[in-house]
């Protein structure tokens, strides 16, 4: 079974937040329920050097997802291709997964009384399309989707071309 990866090259992120709106357009989640979110890290001065990065926060589709373990309704499950899916139909809104997620990547949709998280646009991926946020919307080209080995190579090449100090922005890998 193929496994998918959504990898963010945070060093390339400008904080333009197009990915957040691309997600909204796709999922129509209500106000306040943001399944992908751009966070600010800094600014601060470290050893006299200014630091300011953005960090894109989204479900990590963890190898051992805490949310799957705590869900009493088995509404969250991991597929063979590593995509972790929250099934809204089964969710009873107990919010245990929200507390369990170490990445703060699950939101509570109070309109529907249920949890929501990034399901990696499986409805698109299963049809041969990229997730909405990774469909080449990003003007900084920092959101990658596909074969993790190829992506890691691409990002490494990009970083080498930049010929600067090693990446300060953390890259998240599923």
């Amino acid at each position: 079974m193929k496994s998918y990866a959504l990898i963010i090259d945070n060093e390339s992120c400008w904080g333009c937040r197009t990915c957040e709106v691309a997600c909204k357009q796709e999922i129509s989640s209500p106000e306040g329920v943001q399944l992908i979110k751009v966070l600010e890290d800094g600014p601060r001065i470290i050893d006299g050097k200014p630091e300011f990065t953005f960090r894109v926060n989204v479900c990590q589709h963890c190898d051992e997802p805490a949310c799957v373990d705590v869900c009493p309704e088995e509404a969250i499950f991991k597929r063979d291709d590593n995509v972790v899916i929250l099934d809204g139909e089964k969710c009873i809104g107990c919010e245990l997964c929200i507390d369990a997620c170490p990445y703060d990547a699950i939101a509570f949709d109070s309109e529907k009384g249920m949890a929501q998280k990034c399901n990696l646009c499986f409805h698109r991926v299963d049809n041969g399309l990229n997730p909405a946020c990774a469909d080449n919307v990003c003007p900084g080209h920092c959101i990658y989707f596909g074969d993790p080995d190829i992506i890691k190579r691409e990002i490494a090449e990009k970083q080498a071309r930049r010929a600067k100090e090693p990446s300060k922005g953390r890259s998240f890998i599923i």
């Binding site: 060093e11 400008w14 333009c16 957040e20 691309a22 300011f52 190829i150």
Partner: protein
């Protein structure tokens, strides 16, 4: 992305059951991004970037995707209305287009015949690519007064580049500049005229060196090889410092200087007036850093300067532009591949010709408001807004009786908002064309429902200087909304200009394309047209200036009675120019940093955009906040000698603690009273529009750097 094709159009249609996809070009900001508009049963379902577009390469921004929420917004004005209560009472009645345009036409003819055409002032803001039709209407009517943002946005770039080297040199990102100096610009958020953040990102990812000039630590500054956090408003001095290094160390392009430059010697003398020690004192930037940046910029080829509007909204507007042009020029980067290119537009009837400037009688042109005072602006048909407010309020030098504001919200976006309010309240007749009844529109007599870019056919970007034109194709019709082009085409007929307009505006599109021998119906089948790309044209033809040279010393400015060489002026308010005031107002307030999702006063009512940024935010250094007793997230009162407003405090360590950074153009569409909170957080309550604070040649209002005090709201 190996096995996936980006923006797979066929697959999208199959999976989602869309029945139509239209390729078009966005205009939620300065425009030009290729988009794919997916529809089902005549309704827009999704907007995506067009991977085939050479501008955005398939990417988009939040605003572009959010366009659907603009088009279908429940508060959108979808039919013309007439005010039935007192000004600002918020009482409107629906009228027909015929009624609305007949009323406007009657007023136009009445004021023209009674007070002269100059008493009628059409205007636009940053524009919906309607500038060409508005100027056409005005020039045919005989009014020299078109009220735009041009005095302090893009107009200065056009006028200063034309007088220096013939046209606006655009960064040639396609050919990978090896060093980019970003000056007062957050290009990745603002996507300024002629640019998008995406090609800039690509150039960096290909290894371009980066220099950032910005008082704030943006992400661009944080990624830069060198960041120069200058004292706000001292850009000209900083550039002088760099030029000093480049000239002294002979890092300039000697062939270019020897053969293609006018005014070298007096220019060098002027540069010598700004030794690095002096520049360091003025700018707060250590001279070693200036040296390092100057050397990197001058010795890396090709190099380019990505400049922003921040340097234009200052008293040094024209000279800021001119001195950055000097940096581009003497380092040999003008019209160089991968540098900054004087691109050629396809052979069309361009924005100037379409604007019918030649049709304005000379005696009317001489009446241009402020034309004698601000002669650079005046010569490019640009006026300073205070001239209009004065003409309304004091009838000097003659009365202005009618405003016709087409996509403009000056109450939020021009200096000295209180004076703008008094003028809009006082003007005898005002018509507005816009998407919503904005705080400005609330003071109108008639408001027309404007079409968004999704609702019109047009030739996108034909006014720009990057050399491309693109078809913008109509996707939907919303209510009775009309494009400003169709509206003015109709109004033109009603005021006796019929012979210069067309049966429908498609005729206008055909006119633009006429020199190419094609019509709109042909062009709309194309992806784009691009002018021929030729580098270093000056080697054969010289520059399109009076001397045929790159004018470091401007013969035109000299002719108009100005210093032909750039010079640095202290900001009108500041620690140096007004030390006493600085004691009472001890912080330098900078305004108008760019926020994702918003475009000046637009988009506060779009849920996806507002969710990104709910409230006006003032950035304060944590040490300063502590000193002033302000906590993170507190409402803060920001006060200048002219008034006070409130914004929400955010601690920001990435700037000097003497600086406070506020947002601009905030109003609150969710407040349903007719004021919509226009005074609460509007930074232009604090700014000055006094003539002596404006750029003396351009008339740019100095709104970016002033003094303030701050305190927690009690």
């Amino acid at each position: 992305m190996a096995q996936f094709k980006y923006s797979n159009m066929e697959k999208e249609m199959e999976v989602y059951g869309y029945d139509t996809v239209i390729k078009s070009h966005c205009r939620m900001c300065h425009g030009g991004c290729g988009v794919l508009i997916y529809l089902k049963n005549g309704r827009i379902e999704k907007i995506a970037g067009d991977p085939d577009c050479p501008i955005n390469h398939g990417t988009l921004c939040s605003k572009g995707i959010g366009s659907t929420q603009l088009a279908y917004h429940p508060d959108r004005l979808t039919y013309p209305v007439r005010r039935v209560g007192a000004k600002g009472s918020g009482k409107w009645e629906r009228i027909s287009w015929d009624d609305a345009l007949e009323t406007i036409a009657e007023k136009v003819l009445h004021y023209r015949d009674t007070f002269g055409a100059e008493s009628i002032v059409p205007g636009y803001g940053t524009g919906r690519e309607n500038e060409a039709v508005i100027y056409r209407f005005a020039n045919l009517l005989g009014t020299p007064n078109v009220l735009t943002a041009g005095h302090f946005c893009y107009g200065p770039r056009i006028s200063t580049t034309i007088i220096t080297c013939g046209t606006n040199p655009i960064v040639d990102y396609e050919n990978n500049p090896k060093c980019i100096m970003v000056w007062g610009n957050n290009v990745v958020i603002s996507n300024p005229d002629c640019y998008k953040g995406e090609p800039f990102s690509q150039a960096l990812d290909k290894g371009a060196k980066l220099i950032a000039i910005d008082p704030r630590l943006t992400r661009i500054a944080a990624r830069a090889d060198i960041w120069l956090p200058l004292r706000p408003g001292t850009d000209t001095a900083l550039a002088f410092g760099m030029l000093n290094v480049i000239i002294e160390e002979q890092l300039y392009d000697k062939d270019f200087v020897e053969n293609h430059v006018y005014g070298w010697e007096p220019f060098v003398e002027r540069v010598n007036e700004y030794p690095l020690e002096r520049v360091e004192k003025i700018t707060w930037v250590p001279k070693e850093k200036i040296q390092k940046a100057a050397r990197l910029f001058a010795t890396t080829k090709p190099a380019a300067i990505q400049w922003g509007v921040a340097i234009e909204q200052q008293v040094n507007c024209a000279d800021n532009n001119r001195i950055l042009l000097a940096l581009m020029g003497i380092t040999g980067n003008i019209d160089a591949k991968g540098g900054q290119v004087l691109f050629k537009t396809p052979k069309i009837n361009n924005v100037g010709r379409f604007g019918a400037h030649a049709m304005l009688p000379r005696e009317q042109a001489e009446k241009r408001l402020g034309g004698e005072r601000f002669r650079l602006g005046g010569n490019f048909a640009i006026i300073n807004p205070k001239c209009v407010w004065d003409a309304i309020l004091e009838e000097k030098p003659y009365p202005v009786k009618m405003l016709f504001l087409i996509s403009s919200n000056p109450l939020m976006t021009r200096g000295n908002a209180n004076e703008v309010y008094r003028a809009l309240k006082a003007v005898e007749f005002m018509a507005v064309s816009d998407f919503f009844i904005t705080p400005t529109a609330e003071l109108a007599d008639i408001v027309l429902p404007a079409a968004t870019w999704l609702e019109m056919d047009y030739i996108a970007d034909f006014w720009k200087r990057h050399g491309y034109i693109f078809p913008r194709r109509k996707a939907v019709q919303i209510g009775e909304c009309r494009s400003d082009h169709e509206m003015l085409n109709d109004l033109g007929h009603r005021v006796g200009q019929g012979e210069y307009w067309w049966d429908t505006f498609e005729g206008g599109l055909d006119y633009i394309l006429e020199p190419m021998g094609i019509k709109w119906r042909d062009f709309k089948k194309m992806d784009y047209l691009r002018g021929e790309v030729v580098y270093q044209k000056y080697k054969e033809k010289g520059f399109s200036t009076p001397t045929g040279k790159f004018e470091l010393s401007s013969t035109l400015l000299e002719k108009w009675g100005y210093d032909p060489l750039p010079q640095f002026r202290e900001p009108p308010e500041g620690p140096i120019s007004t030390p006493e005031l600085y004691e009472e107002y001890p912080y330098i307030l900078i305004t108008g940093r760019r926020i994702p999702g918003f475009f000046h006063s637009e988009n506060r009512q779009l849920p996806w955009m507002r969710e990104l940024h709910r409230e006006p935010v003032v950035e304060i250094h944590p040490d300063t906040a502590e000193k002033e007793g302000i906590g993170e997230g507190d409402w803060v009162i920001i006060e200048s000698p002219r008034g006070k407003v409130r914004q929400r405090a955010k601690f920001f360590e990435g700037m000097d603690q003497r600086i406070v950074s506020a947002e601009h153009a905030w109003w609150f569409p969710e407040k349903k009273d007719p004021g919509h909170g226009w005074k609460e957080s509007n930074i232009n309550i604090l700014t000055s529009n006094a003539y002596e604070h404006c750029d003396p040649a351009m008339g740019a209002t100095h709104v970016r750097t002033l003094l303030c005090k701050i305190s927690p709201e009690t």
